[in-house]
Symmetry: C2
Subunit: 247 residues, 2 copies
């Protein structure tokens, strides 16, 4: 009959009011918040309380404040990118193994390839194509440049699905997974051969997406991932994933 009550702290009410003003549209992205001193007058709280509220809002990606800025804190657009940080923390939390990540990535990239093949429009396929060409041109141009181009290629595919959730999760899982094996890769001597194989596989994937063959695109993406990263797994776990994607 009665609800449990939780002590509500002053800074929380400040956060609430600003958040709801943002939701209602009273405040919009790009606009500026009043200065901290003005906020303490309006909310009738101390400076510290205002600052705690601003810190929380800032860490949640809703605004950005700079020292000395006479215009006050800037309200940021609410974007799916706010999911990136918590997702990243989750994936790096240590309870997630490399196998978990690889499994999840195979799942996501397979689906992304399918959806991209089925749904892409001219702009999106052009973006994928140009990312692929950049990937081509960076073979042998150093690890970081090549790695960036690879990220851009997969991002372009994820973009073409039109699903922001898929896009974010895919990007996070990819970055965490590659980060986990980065050290090994750096030591792998014959990186030119590796890159060459990667580019061939990606070209094939692009053709399938371009041809709108979703089923084959998904299969190709999954096979490539397992082939490239499966070597980091024990044999039995690799076999399990192979069975999975073969079905």
């Amino acid at each position: 009959m009665f609800e449990p009550v939780r002590p509500v702290r002053a800074y929380e009410r400040v956060v609430e009011q600003i958040e709801s003003a943002l939701r209602r549209g009273d405040l919009r992205a790009g606009e500026r918040l009043p200065s901290e001193r003005e906020l303490m007058r309006q909310f009738q709280v101390s400076r510290s309380t205002v600052r705690e509220a601003l810190r929380v809002l800032e860490s949640n990606g809703l605004l950005r404040s700079r020292q000395g800025d006479p215009q006050g804190a800037e309200l940021l657009p609410l974007s799916p990118d706010t999911l990136r940080r918590p997702m990243d923390k989750l994936a790096r939390s240590g309870e997630i193994s490399f196998e978990d990540l690889l499994q999840f990535r195979i799942l996501l990239d397979g689906a992304a390839s399918y959806l991209a093949a089925r749904l892409h429009d001219e702009t999106q396929i052009a973006a994928i194509r140009s990312a692929l060409e950049r990937l081509h041109s960076t073979v042998g141009a150093g690890r970081t440049a090549w790695s960036e181009a690879d990220v851009a290629f997969h991002d372009a595919i994820a973009q073409a699905t039109g699903n922001p959730l898929l896009q974010i999760c895919s990007a996070v899982v990819r970055s965490v997974a590659t980060g986990m094996i980065e050290s090994e890769i750096a030591e792998a001597g014959d990186s030119a051969g590796l890159m060459d194989r990667w580019v061939r596989q990606h070209s094939r994937l692009f053709e399938l997406i371009d041809a709108r063959d979703g089923v084959e695109a998904a299969a190709q993406a999954r096979r490539d991932l397992l082939e490239e990263y499966g070597v980091h797994l024990p044999a039995d776990r690799r076999q399990l994933l192979a069975d999975w994607i073969g079905s």
Copy 2:
């Protein structure tokens, strides 16, 4: 050659240190942080700075602090809530559509059903079975009880995949998606018939998982989701998802 620098605020460095101690395992869930005064001694910063750091960590779900608690702030286990809160906000603001969520959920639950079918052990299949039985018994026992039993059923399946990332993402997406249509469902009159159909579908899914038929289990899970929730989508979007899972 040089990297751009960003002013790093004192509280951020405090947050970083506590977060990394948590990642490394130097601090674990359930343990207590030193008091604020002790923290200001260790970090050599003022109390305000310590407090801003604690507020940020608290809003990210990593700890909880109560006024007057002599034991200090309590470190919390990482929970799906850290993802659910921001995703919930995005869904409510319209940045993520219901279709995005449904698509993602079909993706996750399909894969979870496949993996659960292939990988489950005795304990896990028993957990799924008992969750199903509880679901049976709660038909007509009120919405909240039934809803909880449904969550438990899907969680048990996700658990059986052995992939914590899949488990958490699945739980989050499920919770946000059902939250979005909760209001509509509450108004749907004939809930007994709905529940009955749900239970039949879930029973079939359980049988397929129990029989280790991963391919059919995945197909069943996807079909059921689309059938139940597809009504909330426009016809053309529903057709797209139908094509997808039919492939």
